[in-house]
């Protein structure tokens, strides 16, 4: 993937199922500086829709990319404010 952003932190939630990928992403984003991008590695197929919905409905975050790899779903979340 040719990233158009630098990844500040990576959160590994592989194995965790709903609602933990979203809940842990929220906590990890809280610790970021504004503008930084968090990479989230998940194995929960529901995380594709859930993180998209979460980022859409949550102030101060933006989903800048999602990728479906071999058994791993990658999500890139930017903290906007």
């Amino acid at each position: 993937m040719s990233a158009e952003f630098d990844i500040a932190e990576t959160l590994d939630v592989k194995g965790a199922s709903c609602p933990m990928p979203v809940v842990k992403t929220k906590s990890a984003v809280d610790d970021l500086d504004a503008g930084a991008v968090l990479e989230v590695l998940a194995t929960d197929p529901g995380s594709m829709s859930d993180l998209d919905g979460w980022a859409d409905g949550t102030a101060g975050v933006e989903l800048v990319g999602q990728e479906e790899g071999d058994d791993v779903y990658k999500h890139y979340v930017r903290k906007t404010e």
């Binding site: 194995g15 933990m20 101060g60």
Partner: protein, 190 residues
């Protein structure tokens, strides 16, 4: 010419100053109303204490907190067990009355069967890496979810206020829950 439309008699008409004051008043009210709309609120009433029914309120509460919502979960009757430090770790699942369970009711009603179905579900929860009730509760508390234990049912069940997790609010009743629901964008009874 319609006689229904009364002429604005000079004496009845509000003065310019009165109108200006009224406009100020309305503008203040509008500002206050818009301010309160900043954050969304969710209010859940949790009434069930079986292992399966303990999950939905906690999953929704923690997720809503992740969205930045202001979340209150009011626990009453068997829902209190979710907040009870000891009892929350041994919530049971019954297959009686649940036709989706693989055990016929006549068999499910036999002594000891609840223990079997509960063990089965606990193993699935562990195999699937699904969060435990305790984990979800601790996470939600960390995220600022307000858990309330209904005082009337605490007394009814003969529970002690110290039996609940740290951070659980006691000494509240239906009026508190109703007020939360009235202010909330989402209200759920589980």
């Amino acid at each position: 010419m319609s006689t229904d439309t009364p002429d604005a008699a000079a004496g009845d008409a509000p003065s310019r100053a009165e109108l200006a004051a009224r406009i100020d008043e309305l503008e203040d009210a509008l500002a206050a109303a818009t301010d309160e709309d900043d954050g969304k609120k969710m209010s859940i009433i949790a009434t069930k204490g079986t292992l399966d029914m303990a999950y939905p309120p906690l999953i929704l509460a923690s997720t809503a907190a992740a969205f930045g919502y202001d979340v209150t979960v009011f626990h009453t009757f068997w829902g209190l067990d979710i907040l009870h430090e000891e009892r929350s770790k041994s919530l049971k699942l019954s297959s009686v009355g649940n036709p989706n369970m693989p055990v016929p009711n006549a068999v499910a009603a036999l002594p000891g069967m609840d223990r079997v179905t509960t063990k089965m579900m606990e193993r699935r929860i562990a195999d699937n890496d699904t969060a435990t009730i305790e984990e979800l509760l601790e996470t939600s508390l960390d995220m600022g979810v307000e858990f309330q234990a209904c005082q009337m049912t605490i007394d009814l069940m003969d529970y002690d206020e110290n039996d609940f997790y740290d951070g659980v609010t006691t000494g509240v009743g239906a009026a508190t829950a109703l007020q939360d629901m009235a202010e909330a964008d989402i209200q759920l009874l589980v």
